[in-house]
């Protein structure tokens, strides 16, 4: 009988899943898989519909738990001779029946059709995609279960899962991006962990605007097996978190009875966690972009939620208490930001860069810019020892891991935060947060960049770059001091005049090769490297 409450939602999910599969199958059949980088619109929209079917679960969980917000159903269900666990289990079955089954059926059809029409590489993408969507579904339902168990009004039961799912998916990636990446000033393109074990997969894609044209699934699968494996492990961990959330929901549900029907937020703890996570996520979104927008939008959202949550007993005292909560959220972000500021991203920039030096095909370049010149440090990979002209130079230092670490160390030590006093750092931090648009500048200006050419499996070359944006305002003298230090340590340093008026030259005497020309230096990922 409970399923009757959910029939409309079941139909919606069935339709969305069915359409999604149809579109994808059409793509498989007519395009025979994925041409070079061409993911046809059919697959793309099929994907979107699949995600929509997964997220529609939020509309399904609430009606399955009607007794929590509807008095008549409360009278019926709470007087039944069933324990809370039995009731919960019955409703879980309904959700499985109405959400998981149509979804799973549709996805299975997609996979089976894919097996028929696609090759194994493309199948990797399909299967990874299916796994992701499974997580979308599981996470939506799990969060909705926790939210619905904690709320007593239909309005809350619908909007809290949506907000909380989005916020909890974004909050970890956002925190990492803002507190570690942006504040430390180190921008690297080696982000290969796109999934975190909490929330919707691929949330990171929405944060780093340096996105590629590929879909999320393609990006993961094309990045190499180890990255793929890491992300699959994260997805499985995410599923485990979802299972944990279901148990949490059961614990909360057991405490519910007919008394709390109608009360917007039944669990005070849940309310505080909910509003904090959502507000902090919103503040973080605009943090280091524009503090005013962050505070304005955060405050607006916070007020909206607290007024709505207390709509039955709105008093000044309640509002005041809630405002303190907002200040707490804002303060936490600012304080953590400051701690991160003075530690340069909690030690992010000073920690050694792992997994970069993996073979004798790894080479390194670094750039430091003054107002007049560009200094470039170039260290060739070990395997170039056999190149003509170099084999006769026994004292030439080919690239090693220690050298890369040392280059990083020297460059990051230029960061003036290391030499400022606490109060200087504090006032710089306030200026940074209030006035600067760190976000935009971060992606526009390259400074203190280190490029590392690695090898990938199957002999393709790949370049990682590491911007150390924090060194952008360092004085010319300090930079030249560092350049001199590199020279003293035996590194190959080129002095380059960007205007082209002066001759570019190698600062040491050895002239065994010409300076690297602009067009020969590899700056970015070469997109063509990724496809068959």
């Amino acid at each position: 009988m409970l399923t009757k409450n959910c029939t409309k939602q079941f139909m919606l999910i069935a339709v969305l899943s069915g359409l999604s599969t149809l579109l994808k199958i059409f793509h498989f059949v007519s395009f025979g898989g994925f041409a070079q980088g061409a993911m046809s619109d059919f697959y793309f929209y099929g994907d979107i519909l699949s995600v929509a079917a997964a997220i529609s679960g939020v509309l399904l969980v609430a009606p399955a738990f009607k007794e929590l917000y509807n008095r008549q159903f409360a009278d019926v269900e709470f007087s039944l001779p069933m324990s809370a666990s039995e009731r919960f289990r019955a409703k879980l079955l309904v959700i499985l029946k109405c959400h998981f089954i149509p979804f799973a059926v549709a996805q299975s059809v997609t996979v089976i059709t894919g097996i028929i029409f696609l090759n194994s590489f493309q199948m990797k993408i399909i299967i990874f995609d299916v796994l992701c969507h499974l997580v979308y579904m599981a996470f939506t339902d799990a969060i909705a279960l926790v939210c619905v168990s904690s709320c007593g009004n239909i309005v809350e039961c619908i909007y809290t899962p949506i907000f909380l799912a989005a916020a909890s998916s974004l909050i970890i990636p956002l925190s990492i991006f803002k507190f570690v990446v942006l504040i430390s000033g180190r921008n690297a393109n080696t982000m290969n962990m796109l999934n975190f074990p909490v929330g919707y997969p691929g949330a990171m894609m929405f944060i780093d605007s340096d996105g590629t044209e590929m879909t999320y699934a393609e990006f993961i699968v094309c990045s190499g097996t180890s990255v793929l494996v890491k992300n699959i492990i994260m997805l499985i961990a995410d599923l485990a978190v979802c299972v944990g959330l279901v148990f949490l929901a059961l614990r909360i549900y057991k405490k519910r009875n007919g008394l709390t029907v109608g009360k917007p937020f039944v669990s005070g703890k849940f309310y505080r966690i909910f509003i904090s996570v959502v507000t902090v996520a919103v503040i973080l979104e605009f943090f280091l972009n524009s503090l005013y927008i962050a505070v304005f939008v955060g405050l607006l959202l916070f007020l909206a939620i607290s007024v709505s949550a207390n709509r039955t007993k709105l008093t000044m005292k309640v509002l005041e208490k809630n405002m303190l909560g907002f200040c707490g959220c804002l303060l936490s972000v600012l304080v953590i930001g400051f701690v991160s500021y003075i530690t340069c991203g909690f030690g992010y920039t000073s920690s050694p860069v792992n997994d970069v030096f993996d073979s004798d095909a790894t080479g390194c370049q670094a750039e430091l810019i003054t107002s007049k010149y560009l200094y470039r440090i170039v260290q060739l990979p070990q395997k170039d020892k056999t190149q003509e002209g170099l084999s006769e130079l026994p004292e030439y230092r080919f690239c090693t891991k220690e050298m890369i670490d040392q280059i990083f160390k020297e460059i990051t030590s230029l960061d003036k935060r290391n030499s400022s006093s606490f109060s200087e750092n504090l006032s710089n931090y306030f200026d940074l947060v209030r006035y600067e648009n760190v976000y935009d500048e971060f992606f526009a200006i390259k400074a203190g960049t280190v490029y590392i050419m690695c090898s990938m499996e199957d002999d393709k070359r790949r370049v990682n770059y590491y911007d150390n944006y924090s060194v952008r305002n360092v004085s010319d003298e300090d930079i030249e001091k560092t350049v001199q230090r590199f020279l003293d340590l035996g590194y190959e340093v080129y002095k380059i005049d960007p205007t082209g008026k002066e001759d570019d030259y190698l600062m040491k005497e050895q002239r065994y090769m010409r300076p690297a020309r602009e067009e020969e230096i590899i700056y970015e990922n070469d997109e063509e490297e990724y496809y068959d």
């Binding site: 009988m1 009757k4 409450n5 509807n70 008095r71 008549q72 159903f73 409360a74 009278d75 019926v76 709470f78 007087s79 039944l80 001779p81 069933m82 324990s83 809370a84 039995e86 009875n257 007919g258 008394l259 039955t312 007993k313 008093t315």
Partner: protein
């Protein structure tokens, strides 16, 4: 038997601490095989008590035992209870058959035959959605389900009022069988005192959260007597004086009205006692008359200082 022990209910939102409790240390016992009436004005606490008995609300303090088992969050105890509330809107999307299956899965003693028998007798279709039914038909369907569940205790929260005479007769007959066969009890809350008076053998009255009385109806009625007599003693012409005189005779006079030469006196005593003690006041006194349930109510409430007995009068 249902034992209700010192049930207190506070609906507090945490902020309105001065709000009066909805139920104040209410204790009563509902025996097996009876029809028990819950009486009281709106908001007095009847529905609240029923919901606590059904395990829908947890009481703030106190306990309820159903055949020895505490009821809250205890499916074994809830197996013995079926609660019917006063709404009809909760099942509009379902057919009677679907509801029957639902309750069948929940109550182990559910009987399909009883359900079919009742629905057939009422000429109600079991495969149409309840949204096509009138309010009365919806009510009848829900009562049919309640009867089919064959629980030991049936709680009707003002559910009887919406039934037509034919359905009432049917329910009464089925209940009668249940009382004799299984010692089942029906607990009915209502504003309609006449009906309760005819239907029930026990009753209780709640007023603003306090239990005013709970007893067998016959005992209640027997405990009050109305007499009309002519009192020739001029000293007793004043009602207050007469009241004190009656008190001195060992009786409690609840009401004195002057109707022409007659004085109508209501005393809280059985008829024999009243007549024998008041004979000194008038030689014409031969008999007294029992009170209706309504009259008992009004005077009980007034005697306890609840001057709002008018509310009950108007509700009827």
């Amino acid at each position: 038997m249902i034992e209700i022990k010192n049930i207190t209910m506070n609906f507090s939102d945490g902020q309105n601490r001065n709000q009066a409790p909805s139920l104040r240390s209410v204790s009563l016992t509902i025996p097996e095989g009876c029809i028990y009436g819950f009486l009281g004005s709106n908001g007095a606490g009847k529905s609240t008590l029923m919901r606590i008995m059904s395990g829908i609300y947890p009481a703030t303090s106190g306990e309820i035992y159903i055949d020895g088992e505490p009821v809250f969050d205890n499916p074994r105890a809830k197996e013995k209870i079926f609660f019917v509330n006063d709404e009809t809107t909760q099942f509009t999307n379902y057919t009677a058959d679907e509801l029957s299956m639902f309750y069948k899965g929940a109550y182990s003693g559910y009987s399909d035959e009883v359900f079919k028998k009742v629905m057939t007798a009422l000429k109600l279709p079991t495969n149409k959605k309840l949204s096509t039914f009138s309010k009365g038909m919806k009510r009848q369907t829900i009562v049919a389900l309640a009867l089919a569940a064959q629980t030991k205790y049936l709680l009707f929260d003002e559910a009887f009022d919406g039934l037509d005479p034919a359905m009432r007769r049917m329910v009464k007959n089925i209940i009668t069988d249940e009382i004799f066969d299984r010692g089942a009890s029906l607990i009915v809350s209502s504003h309609n005192l006449t009906e309760i008076s005819e239907l029930c053998d026990h009753a209780m009255l709640i007023h603003e959260g306090d239990l005013v009385f709970s007893d067998e109806l016959d005992n209640l009625r027997a405990g009050f007597t109305k007499l009309q007599l002519v009192i020739r003693d001029p000293e007793l012409a004043d009602d207050e004086v007469l009241k004190k005189k009656i008190q001195s005779l060992g009786l409690e006079a609840l009401d004195i009205t002057t109707l022409g030469s007659l004085r109508q006196i209501i005393v809280k005593a059985p008829e024999e006692e009243a007549v024998s003690k008041l004979k000194v006041l008038s030689t014409d006194l031969a008999e007294g008359v029992p009170l209706t349930l309504e009259e008992i109510f009004i005077y009980e409430l007034e005697a306890r200082g609840y001057g709002n007995a008018d509310i009950i009068k108007e509700n009827n």
